[in-house]
Symmetry: C2
Subunit: 765 residues, 2 copies
C-alpha cells in the first residue's frame, strides 16, 4: 500500500473551475447595496508643501457623499516598526511623491467622483526634489523627513567573522558594482477595496492581501477601533508577489470614506494607480568585493547596497535585509560584512518583492562567474564549492535543518547538459547558472503562528477553518490536500473556510511562501487531533489499541486486517450518540528567535527552514538587434517534499517568467523627474505565455524535519535564481559580464559594440 | 465588590440599533447579483390526485430561468423521524391540502414568475376530503396516507402509577372536554429564503430559522450533497415562536431552483403564504378526567387529546407530547394516563408552537378551578397543593433539579392582591390564575450539544464563535453578556460570529428557549478555558498561584491585592511573544437520556432543567358586548437566574401578549372546506402594543445547579400560563367555566345569556 493517497501526487486545484468560469469574485467584482465609488486625489508634485485644501465645492456637488482629507485622520503616522512610523495615509504637511494621496471622495458613481476630485482645490508650494540615490545622500540635498538625516531611512549592518583576515588570505579579490532600476509586480488584478461599516462601528473590508490579520492591525490602529471590529474578509486574489503584504492607503481611505458616508465604498485602482500607488520593488546599487582561495571558495565578502526606497518606509526596511539574507543562505560566507542602506527619494514607495534585489543577487552570482573565469573554474563548479549544506549555520546564525542546494545544482547541471555545453556553444549562444534561497518558515509580527480548526459532520465530511490566505499560489488547495490526506478523505469531502479575520483563527500570512510550512503544519496537527479522537471511538468499538488503526478511503480500518473497518461517518455518529462532538484544533509556531529583527538585530534563527534553488538558462543572442531567445530553462528546487507536483511546477514556471523572462529581459520602470513613464502594460513589458521558453522542472526533496510531510516553500527560490541564470547566460553568450539590469536589447547591442571596439583596439595594427 | 459586573443587570441589547434604524438585513432584504425571484404554484384542491403537469408553456416564457416539479426531487420523502417520513416537498401523486406546493418557477422578476405560474397546466382529479378530527377518524373516511390507517398519524401513550386506584380513592372526580381551533404564529417577518449554488456545488442559503444546523441536515439529504456543502448563513430573523423550527418547502424549492437556474433565487412569502404554507399550531380536543382528595390534591388523571395535524407529520408528532409534558412538569400527577392522538386532515400542516395546546393547558387549569369551587378551595390554593417541587421526578421520569413553581404562585398571588380580590370583586370583574412549565435544556436531534470558540486579540478584545441563533429573543446578547462577564470585559469588547453552519460549530438550536442553558453553558466554558490560560500567564509573571486571580475591568488582578494587576491585552501580548496564541473552547451537552424519544419512548430524563411560571390576570367583562378589558396581569417565572432582567421582562410581556391577550381573546384561524378565511392581519387579530394591559413582572430565581450562573429559560412558561390565567379570569368574571377557546366576545355574550336563562329558569316563577 502506498504511504499517501493524495499528497505527493498531482491534484487539480480546487479554485480552477471558479476562476475559469469567471465565478470567482475579486474585490473589484463585489457590489453591495447603496455602494459608493471612492477615488483619491493625487499629488501632481514630487515634493511640495500643502498650503491649503478647500473641499467645499466638491462637497456641494450633487452625488458626493463624503470627502476626506488629512483632517479626518488625526495626523496618525503608520510604519511596520515603531521607528519607521513616517507615513500619513493622507498627509498633513507635505507630499513626498507624485501620485501621493492628498484627499479622497466617495460619490454615487465614478463620473461624479472624478468630477468631485477636480473641484478640490489644493494649494501647493513646490519643494526641491531628489530622484536618485546619489542625489539624495549628497550634501545639501533636500530632506524628505526630519527623522531621517541625509535621507537615510535605515542602515542594516552585519559583520561576521574576520573579513580583513579573509581578504588578506585570499588568492584573488574582485570588486564590482551592479545596479538595477525599479521593477513592478504587475499583478493580474489591479488593487481594489470595498469597505462598509455597520451601526455598531464594525468594519467589513475586502481587498487583495497576503495575510488578512496583517491588514486588520493597522486598520484597527488608524481607525481607532478594536481589532475585533475590523473584519478583513475572504475574497479571490489575483496575485501578490510581495506587493499585497501590508496596509495600502486605499484600504484606509476606503474605510474612512465608508465611515463618513455611512455607506459601503468601493475603490478600484486604475492600472496606473496600481503601479504608482501600491508598493513596487526597489532600485539597487550594490558594490561587492569578494576574495576567494585558489579553488574558488569564498574567503571574504564585503557588500554595500544602496536601495532607492521612494518617499516612505513602508515594508522597505525589511527589503533592506532580504537580498543579503537570501544569498547568505544560498552560499557559505564565513567572513562577511554587509552594509545595506535604504535611501529616501521623491518617488513612489518601495516595498517587499518576490524577486528581491536583482542587482544584488545577480551581482553575487555573476561575480562568481568572473572569478571562476579568472581561476579557470566553470560557474557550476564555483557554485558547488560554495554551496550551503545541511547542518550549517548562516552568518546571521540561522541553523539550516535541510538543504538541497548541492543536489539542485547537480541535477540542474545534468538535465541542462551543462558539462557538454558550457564553453562549447557557438558564438552568441550562452549558458548561465544562478542559485538562491529563501526563508520559508518565519513569522511576521506578533501573531506569528497559525491555528486551524476542523469540524466533523455526521456524514463524515469535514470543514477546515484556517486563517491561511490563497493569493494565487494554491494555498487553499494545500490545506484541503493535507486535511484530506491526514483523515483518509477525498478533497471533495473537505470544505474550507479561510482568510477571514473574524471567523478564522490567526495566521501570519503568505509571506515568502510560509503558508505551507506554518499553516500547513497547523492544519495537519488539527487533522491529527481529529483523527486521534476518531481512532479512540473505533478502537473502543473494536476492542483494540488506537495504534493499530489507519484512516483511508473515508474509513478507519485495522492496519493489520484491513477488512475490519468502520466508516468515518459511523464513528462520528457513535460519538454524537454519546453526546460528544468531534472537532480538532492545531497550532504551529515556527521555531525562530523572537528577538531577531529585520533591521535592528538581524541575528538569531530567522526562519525554521529555507528553500534552495538552482536555475540554468540557455540563450541565443541576436548580435544585430540584441534580442535574446531563451532556448531552454532548467529549474531545480529543494521544496522539502512535493505535496502537489503540478502546483509546484506551475510555481517554478511562474518564477522563471517573473525572475528571468521579465525580470532580466524586459521589466523596469522608466522615470522622468519622479513620474513613472510606463505604468501600464503598453510600456512595462511583462512576458506573456507566448514569450515563455521550454522549462525543465526538477523537484528536489530533502524532507525537512519540521515541514508538513517534510514540505517547505516552492517557487520563490526559482524566481530569484532565474534572474541570475539569465544574467549568466546572456553574459556567457555575449562574452561580456553585465553589471546593469535588466539586460535589454540596447544594452546588449552596446556591449557587443564596445567589446568589438575593444577587441579591434587590441588587434595590433 | 459585587459578584458580577454584567450579568444580573439590565444590558441594552446589542441588536437594538441595527433593528431600530433598519440596518438589520432580513432574508427578504437580501439581494444578490443575478438573483431571480422564485414562486410556488399551490394546489387549489384540499385533496386531489395529480394526473399530469405540463410546464412547457411556462418554460418558454421569456425571463423564466427554471421550472421545477416533483420530477426534480427524485420522490424523496422527508420527516423528523424515520417513521414519519411522509412529505414530498413537491408531491408526485397527490396534493393533501389547499395551498400545497405543486411546482415552482424562478424568473427574472416577480411579475414574470407569477405569469409563469399561470402557464403551468396541472390536471387534478379531485378526491374526497376530511377537515375535522371527527370526520378524519370516522369509519370509511377518505385516507390521506397509506402509512397512517384511520388518519392516525401518531399515538403517544403514557401510563404511570395506578390510575384506577387513584380514581377509586378520590373524594371527587370530574370529567370535562375542552377544545380550541388552530392559531397562527404570525411572525413579524413573513417567510423568505435566498439560495445560491457555486460551481463546486456548494449551497449558501439564508432563511429565518431556529437552528441553522437543523435546516442544513434535511437540505443535505434532499439535495443529495454532503452537509459541509450546505451553508446556512447568519441573517436577522423576525420571530420564530416554534414556527421556524424545521425545514420549509420554501427552503428546498429555493435551493432546487437555484441549482437548476445556476443563479441565486429569492422566495418571499406573502402574508397569506406565511399563514397557510408554513407550520402553525394544532387544533385540539382534550378530554380530562381528574380525581382529587378532600384537600384538592390530584390523585388520578386520565387525559385523551386529539390534535388536528393537517396533511403531514412535520414536527407535529413532537407537539403531540409537549402539552402533556408541560403540564406534568407544572403539577404533580402520580397516577396519570395520557393518550395523545395526532389526526391527519386535508388542511395545512401543523407543527411546534410556543404556546402548546390552549385547550389542553386551559383545560387542566380551569378544571382545577371547578374542582376547587366544589371543594371550597380557591384556585391559588389548589395550585399550591398540586405544585411541582424541587427534587421531584415527573411521571415520565425526569428529575427536577430546580423548581420555583410554589414561589412563583405565592409571589404572583401577593403582587396581584389575590387574597383581597378573589371572590370579592364586583360583578363581571374576575381574577384567574394559570401555571405552566417548559423543558429548557434538551437536545434536538443527533447534534444535541453546543460548542463555542473564543479568540483573543492583542488589544484584549475577543471574538466568540458559536452556532447559537437569535431569532428575536436576545440570544446574541446573552452570548456577549456571558463571555464578557466571565472574562471581565465590556460587551463592546466582544465580537460575535454566530449561526452559520460552516463557520460556527454545531448547536442544537433555539428550541424551547434552550439556548441559554445549552449554548450559554458552552460559551461560559469557552470563556473559562480562555481565562485559565490568561491566569496562567499572569500568575507566572506575578509569581503567584492561578487561584489568587480575578478578571474584571479588562484586567486580571490579584484578588487579595487589587492594586496589583495586568491588563488582559498585556497578558495576550506576553503569550504571543512566547509563541503561544490564546484561544478557548467550550462544549456543553445537556444531561438527558439519549434513549428517550418524543413519541415512541417518552420516558427518561427529557431535559436537564425546566422553567416554571404563574400568571394571574384580572379582567372586567362588558356583559352587553362581551368585550374583555384586562386590568392587570402579574407574570411570575422561575428563570433560574436573571442574566438580563430587562430582556426577561420583555419576554414575559411578549408571552402575555401571545398566550393571553392574543391566544385567549382573539387569535384563531377560520376555515371553509380546508381554506383559511383569515390568513392576514385584517382577519386574524394579533394584539397590538396599544391593546396590552399593565403587566407586573416577577422574576423568581432558583439558581439551577447546571444552568450558566443558574439560568434557564425565560418567557415561555409565562406565555402558556397567560392563556390559562386569562381563561380563569374571564370564567371568574362571567361565572361560567369556558370549555372552548379562545374566549371571544360572542362566546361571552352567549354564555351570559345562557347563564341568565338558566338562573331565570331556576328562579321559582
Amino acid at each position: 500500500m502506498e504511504k499517501f493517497t493524495l499528497i505527493g501526487k498531482n491534484m487539480k486545484r480546487i479554485d480552477t473551475a471558479a476562476k475559469a468560469t469567471g465565478e470567482a469574485i475579486f474585490s473589484a467584482d463585489l457590489t453591495l447595496p447603496r455602494m459608493l465609488i471612492g477615488k483619491a486625489l493625487r499629488s501632481p508634485y514630487p515634493h511640495a508643501r500643502i498650503v491649503a485644501i478647500d473641499t467645499s465645492k466638491a462637497e456641494r456637488l450633487p452625488g458626493v457623499k463624503a470627502v476626506i482629507t488629512a483632517q479626518d485622520m488625526c495626523g496618525d503616522k503608520w510604519g511596520v516598526f515603531r521607528y519607521t512610523q513616517d507615513q500619513q495615509f493622507l498627509p498633513t504637511e507635505k507630499v513626498r511623491y507624485m501620485g501621493e494621496e492628498v484627499a479622497a471622495v466617495a460619490a454615487i458613481d465614478e463620473d461624479t467622483a472624478l468630477q468631485a476630485l477636480k473641484l478640490i482645490d489644493v494649494q501647493y508650494e513646490a519643494l526641491p526634489s531628489v530622484f536618485t540615490i546619489d542625489d539624495a545622500i549628497a550634501a545639501g540635498a533636500p530632506q524628505l523627513h526630519d527623522a531621517y538625516p541625509n535621507n537615510i531611512n535605515v542602515h542594516v549592518k552585519i559583520d561576521v567573522g574576520d573579513i580583513e583576515k579573509g581578504f588578506n588570505e585570499s588568492y584573488l579579490v574582485r570588486e564590482d558594482t551592479f545596479s538595477a532600476p525599479e521593477d513592478a509586480y504587475f499583478q493580474g488584478e489591479p488593487y481594489a477595496v470595498v469597505a462598509q461599516f455597520d451601526q455598531a462601528g464594525n468594519l467589513e473590508i475586502w481587498m487583495p492581501n497576503a495575510g488578512p490579520h496583517m491588514k486588520a492591525k493597522p486598520l484597527s490602529n488608524v481607525l481607532k477601533i478594536p481589532l475585533n471590529k475590523v473584519r478583513v474578509r475572504k475574497i479571490t486574489i489575483g496575485g501578490a508577489f510581495g506587493g499585497r503584504s501590508e496596509i495600502s492607503p486605499a484600504d484606509v481611505i476606503c474605510a474612512f470614506l465608508a465611515r463618513k458616508a455611512h455607506r459601503p465604498v468601493k475603490i478600484v485602482y486604475t492600472r496606473e494607480e496600481n503601479t504608482v500607488a501600491t508598493r513596487q520593488a526597489h532600485a539597487l546599487v550594490t558594490k561587492i568585493k569578494t576574495g576567494v582561495d585558489r579553488e574558488g571558495k569564498v574567503l571574504a565578502r564585503d557588500i554595500t547596497c544602496h536601495m532607492d526606497g521612494g518617499a516612505y518606509s513602508s515594508t522597505g526596511p525589511i527589503a533592506t535585509s532580504v537580498p543579503f539574507l537570501c544569498m547568505e543562505q544560498a552560499y557559505r560566507m564565513d567572513n562577511v560584512r554587509y552594509n545595506g542602506y535604504r535611501i529616501l527619494t521623491n518617488k513612489p514607495i518601495r516595498g517587499m518583492y518576490r524577486v528581491h534585489g536583482r542587482a544584488f543577487a545577480c551581482g553575487i552570482d555573476i561575480q562568481l562567474d568572473m572569478i571562476g573565469a579568472a581561476l579557470g573554474i566553470d560557474p557550476l563548479t564555483m557554485r558547488l564549492r560554495n554551496a550551503r549544506q545541511t547542518g550549517d549555520y548562516t552568518p546571521t546564525k540561522s541553523y539550516v535543518a535541510s538543504c538541497g542546494m548541492t543536489e539542485s545544482i547537480v541535477k540542474a547541471g545534468e538535465k541542462s547538459g551543462w558539462k557538454e555545453k558550457f564553453g562549447k556553444l557557438p558564438p552568441y549562444h550562452g549558458i548561465g547558472i544562478g542559485c538562491n534561497s529563501v526563508q520559508t518558515g518565519f513569522p511576521m509580527g506578533i501573531r506569528g503562528g497559525s491555528q486551524a480548526f476542523i469540524k466533523l459532520n455526521e456524514d463524515g465530511g469535514i470543514t477546515v477553518i484556517t486563517g491561511i490566505v490563497d493569493n494565487g499560489q494554491g494555498n487553499d488547495n494545500m490545506v484541503v490536500q493535507i486535511a484530506a490526506e491526514e483523515l483518509g478523505l477525498t478533497p471533495d469531502d473537505v470544505q474550507l473556510i479561510s482568510a477571514d479575520t473574524e471567523v478564522t483563527p490567526s495566521d501570519p500570512g503568505s509571506y515568502a511562501m510560509c503558508e505551507t510550512f506554518i499553516g500547513g503544519n497547523a492544519v495537519r496537527l488539527a487533522a491529527q487531533d481529529v483523527k486521534k479522537k476518531l481512532f479512540r471511538i473505533v478502537a473502543g468499538e473494536f476492542g483494540i489499541g488506537v495504534d493499530n488503526l489507519t484512516a483511508r478511503d473515508r474509513k478507519i480500518f485495522v492496519t493489520e486486517n484491513p477488512e475490519k473497518s468502520m466508516s468515518i461517518a459511523k464513528a462520528v455518529r457513535i460519538a454524537l450518540s454519546r453526546n460528544e462532538s468531534i472537532s480538532g484544533e492545531g497550532s504551529y509556531w515556527p521555531n525562530v528567535d523572537p528577538k531577531r529583527e529585520w533591521v535592528k538585530n538581524p541575528y538569531g534563527q530567522l526562519s525554521e527552514t529555507f528553500s534552495f534553488g538552482t536555475v540554468i538558462a540557455e540563450v541565443k543572442v541576436d548580435p544585430e538587434t540584441g534580442q535574446v531567445e531563451v532556448l531552454e530553462v532548467t529549474a531545480a528546487q529543494d521544496v522539502g517534499f512535493a505535496l502537489n507536483p503540478q502546483v509546484i511546477e506551475g510555481q517554478f514556471e511562474g518564477g522563471v517568467a517573473m525572475g528571468g523572462q521579465g525580470g532580466m529581459l524586459s521589466e523596469f520602470l522608466q522615470w522622468h523627474e519622479g513620474r513613472v513613464l510606463n505604468p501600464t502594460q503598453f510600456g512595462y513589458l511583462v512576458p506573456l505565455a507566448i514569450d515563455m521558453p521550454k522549462i525543465n522542472n526538477i523537484i528536489v526533496e530533502t524532507i525537512d524535519p519540521n515541514g508538513p510531510y517534510g514540505a517547505k516553500e516552492a517557487g520563490m527560490s526559482v524566481a530569484m535564481s532565474a534572474a541570475q541564470a539569465y544574467c549568466g547566460a546572456i553574459s556567457n553568450a555575449v562574452g561580456v559580464y553585465f553589471h546593469d539590469y535588466p539586460i535589454t536589447p540596447d544594452k546588449i547591442v552596446k556591449a557587443i559594440e564596445e567589446k568589438k571596439q575593444k577587441e579591434n583596439a587590441e588587434v595590433p595594427g
